[in-house]
């Protein structure tokens, strides 16, 4: 079991969760009712995929971020 603090980037609200091995990013977002959000450890790390297990990639007590989906550019227009 690990404890995580999920910071909702837009508001700064902190939601504390406990996760077990195999818990995915999608499980956490569903549990917190954060639709259209993505989880990441911060700007220097990629987003967790929805089906990705988070347990092994975070430390007990770590703070992670939930932010709304945003992407620079659009492949057809400017990539």
């Amino acid at each position: 079991m690990k404890r995580l603090s999920v910071v909702v980037a837009g508001t700064g609200q902190i939601r504390d969760v406990e996760i077990q091995p195999g818990t995915t990013a999608g499980d956490i977002l569903n549990q917190l009712s954060l639709k259209d959000y993505l989880l990441s450890k911060g700007p220097n790390d990629p987003f967790f995929a929805n089906a990705e297990s988070v347990f092994d990639k975070v430390n007990d007590g770590e703070k992670i971020f939930a932010s709304t989906k945003a992407e620079v550019g659009e492949s057809l227009l400017c990539a």
């Binding site: 700007p43 220097n44 709304t68 550019g73 659009e74």
Partner: protein
């Protein structure tokens, strides 16, 4: 006589304080309140009306920025003097020059809040330096 009793004198204050703490044990833990503030604020951005100024911060450096929130998720993100690394990124075409070294960052998928947009641009800057 090889030993002479010189009497006693008080120990230095630092040692007395240390001994007193050992005897008393640790005091009760003081709970520290967590600051629940938006990411933009945590990263030091300043808000003036509907505009925000600050820096997109990554482990590779910080880049000055400005954000204008017109309404809802109609938010424009600007970046000042993007580095060569950013200009070599595959999404460089999404940076529209506005003059005076300011660039409007075109968002293919618009964030619903300022903080999420800052995170997206910081992630892109990080990618530009690491790819």
């Amino acid at each position: 006589m090889r030993l002479r009793d010189l009497g006693s004198r008080p120990a230095p204050a630092a040692i007395r304080s240390l001994l007193s703490r050992i005897v008393r044990g640790h005091g009760p833990a003081v709970p520290v309140q967590r600051r629940q503030i938006p990411y933009w604020q945590e990263r030091g951005w300043q808000q003036r009306g509907n505009a925000y100024t600050g820096a997109y911060q990554t482990r590779h450096g910080a880049f000055a920025g400005e954000i204008r929130q017109h309404h809802g998720n109609d938010i424009e993100f600007f970046l000042y003097q993007p580095s060569d690394e950013i200009q070599r990124h595959s999404h460089w075409a999404c940076f529209q020059h506005q003059g005076n070294d300011w660039y409007l960052v075109h968002m293919g998928r618009r964030p619903k809040d300022v903080s999420s947009g800052i995170l997206a641009i910081e992630r892109l800057v990080t990618e530009a330096f690491e790819d």
